[in-house]
């Protein structure tokens, strides 16, 4: 599982949005869900927050795997979603770095909010939650004094100045 953390806050989203934006929220249902950053519940919560602040969320979409390009292209081209995706001016993805890249490639004409990064690969358990074991950035192993069993996402985020949980 890719271990993800947020680089941006809800206020960053508000600052980034323009008044007349038509917003599409899109969440992956795998790694970001396991990391407590994405999934249906957190996407719906973000939609409510944006709605309260009078932003125009026109659509919310769960994609099984945001790293599967076919699933994104299907949303773009399928008769049931084509029109709403054509209307959107921005997409706010709840996905790992790879998922966000995929969304950027699939919807090149839209502005995409990039507020989540993948830090590497790790494990997950009910008892301890997500843990980073193998970082993409090799210097992190030393910097974090990474133990054999990995480091808990919350602890990792604090050390790196990143954020966890939903927007």
């Amino acid at each position: 599982m890719i271990i993800c953390a947020r680089t941006k806050s809800y206020d960053d989203i508000k600052d980034w949005l323009q008044e007349d934006d038509k917003i599409i929220l899109m969440t992956c249902n795998i790694c970001v869900k396991g990391c407590g950053i994405g999934g249906r519940r957190l996407m719906d919560r973000l939609a409510k927050k944006l709605d309260k602040n009078e932003f125009n969320v026109i659509h919310s979409e769960v994609v099984g795997f945001a790293c599967n390009k076919d699933l994104l292209e299907e949303r773009r081209n399928h008769s049931s979603t084509r029109e709403i995706f054509a209307q959107g001016t921005v997409i706010i993805p709840l996905a790992c770095g790879e998922g966000i890249h995929n969304i950027v490639h699939t919807f090149p004409e839209k502005r995409i909010f990039e507020g989540i990064i993948g830090l590497g690969v790790g494990s997950v358990s009910a008892k301890e939650g997500p843990k980073l074991i193998l970082p993409f950035e090799s210097t992190l192993t030393e910097k974090l004094e990474l133990p054999f069993e990995g480091i808990k996402l919350k602890e990792l985020a604090v050390k790196l100045g990143l954020q966890t949980g939903g927007f």
Partner: protein, 153 residues
């Protein structure tokens, strides 16, 4: 998704003994998609090892090898002295923590993270681990991991 690459068979064998029972644990998520894991790959490895005189006593194909919860019904043979991990190195770390006292032998190294397209039957490495930087942007065939020369994703 994480791309792993197999360690040469001869290297894996160096960690094994023909006298000890061997279990195989494999992952059906990232590792299967990139051509390292899954039931078929585990059975092929079992066949090869058996031919070479090793004793494989169980194959556990996990839905996801990096999730501790799935090991509750993994059915790894308790008599196994060594566990071969046909998955990414994170799965090996998880297994080492769960099956303390057993020798865990990793069969693959992690290369990077990928996006994929089933309709194009390929995946593309988007992010790499240290030492594999030259593979960024490379594309491979799904389920086999065969390197492709062209770029379509």
């Amino acid at each position: 998704m994480i791309k792993s690459e197999m360690i040469p068979y001869e290297e894996i064998k160096k960690h094994l003994s023909r006298q000890e029972p061997i279990a195989i644990v494999t992952c059906n998520n990232c590792a299967r998609l990139c051509g390292v894991g899954g039931r078929e790959k585990a059975e092929a490895l079992e066949e090869k090892l058996t031919k070479d005189g090793y004793k494989v006593v169980s194959i556990s194909d996990m839905l996801v090898g990096c999730n501790f919860e799935y090991y509750k019904d993994a059915k790894v043979n308790p008599n196994a002295a060594s566990i071969l991990i046909l998955s990414c190195p994170v799965c090996a770390r998880v297994v080492e923590q769960i099956y303390e006292g057993k020798k865990v032998v990793k069969c693959a190294d992690a290369v990077g993270a990928f996006i994929f397209s089933p309709s194009k039957n390929r995946f593309k490495v988007e992010e790499t681990f240290a030492g594999h930087e030259e593979k960024k942007g490379s594309e491979y065939t799904l389920l086999t991991g065969e390197a492709l020369k062209d770029r379509k994703i």
